[in-house]
Symmetry: C3
Subunit: 154 residues, 3 copies
């Protein structure tokens, strides 16, 4: 089943437009069949950003849902770049950064919110290498961000 069909079947709410970069950068660049997706923010359908710190004022389940939001925004970016998600031949790399306290330990569960979405949509092609870490702070107090590298099919 194609990724776009999957998105329809699961009724996933991918934003019509990717979130606009706040600084002097762009949402994605491409070299050959590699698509480098910039740090994607967890924006709600109304455009507001989810703020918080894991281990302090945000629990793990909310973190999981927040990572899913960031992944949906990443899909919006991929669609804007490639026209359709069906041109993704593999999700190569995901880097999840979690705004967290020094004693937080459940990054895996949080970033799985993004990773599981990618596998739901792309199936085997959605299985990616990943690094998940807890950072001291993020722009605007965002709860998390994630970066992605994708392979584009011919």
């Amino acid at each position: 089943m194609s990724a776009e069909t999957k998105v329809k079947d699961l009724a996933l709410e991918i934003p019509a437009e990717p979130f606009k970069p706040a600084g002097q950068y762009v949402n994605a660049t491409r070299s050959g069949n590699l698509l480098f997706v910039a740090g994607q923010v967890p924006a709600k359908p109304d455009g507001s950003i989810v703020r918080g710190k894991l281990g302090a004022d945000m629990d793990v389940n909310t973190g999981y849902e927040t990572a899913r939001l960031a992944a949906l925004n990443a899909l919006a970016t991929v669609r804007a770049e490639l026209g359709t998600l069906d041109r993704v031949s593999r999700v190569l790399r995901v880097y999840g950064v979690v705004n967290s306290t020094p004693d937080f330990m459940l990054h895996t569960r949080v970033i799985d919110g993004a990773s599981e979405l990618l596998v739901e949509v792309f199936g085997e092609a959605g299985k990616h290498a990943r690094l998940a870490v807890g950072v001291a702070s993020l722009p605007a107090g965002m709860a998390l961000e994630f970066e992605m590298t994708v392979e584009v099919g011919d």
Copy 2:
């Protein structure tokens, strides 16, 4: 206008030699037309490294200038690898890490110091995908570091 002409016109002070890696690594590696630039440090023309922590003992404007210094050092690395900046066909990815307190929120403004320099020098080709985060600590107490992936033209 070529990148090297831009550098002359803007009278940018790119170090004659890239900053020497302090550990067991090199400043850049290449595979095909991808150039992987290692974490670049904010070194002043006299060779001293800029130390500090955003949100504590360094303000945002100084952070911006510090990111610009790191970008200048990255350009020195690119020149040393490729002979000339004019062989860069695209800046693909920038990862800016800011040494910060847990409540710092203005990473975007800080790392723009590096990103704006790249766009000044390379124009459209300087527009990159970016991730900016706040880390707990950096080697030698540096205020920031950034990593870059560049596409080399044929």
Copy 3:
């Protein structure tokens, strides 16, 4: 001398199997001749993960040995993907993340534990671009993690 011969000569203990990813991801993905290795954990031969925080309850020498453990696990992953380490034509990029206190400064020395191992095994081909940072926290309280991108020879 081939990398596999080096491993034998140095009697390096590369785990028979790579450490299983704890979350919804895989240990490595490949696109063309690029192998993206996921965040590798510092696991001991008995399978236990090394936990700790540099600058608090782990000293730099232990950190160095811990980084070496993570690199050995990365070699296990590369072997599992490619069949043999001898197919690595270049280690392109290493990203070392150290679980650390806000005032820790010796990341370079810690991550050198991984970098020096890569140079021991691969020689010139093991020299990589690197970024080393100190993060607020890591999954399960691990002391460090590292990510790697490798070029595969034809």
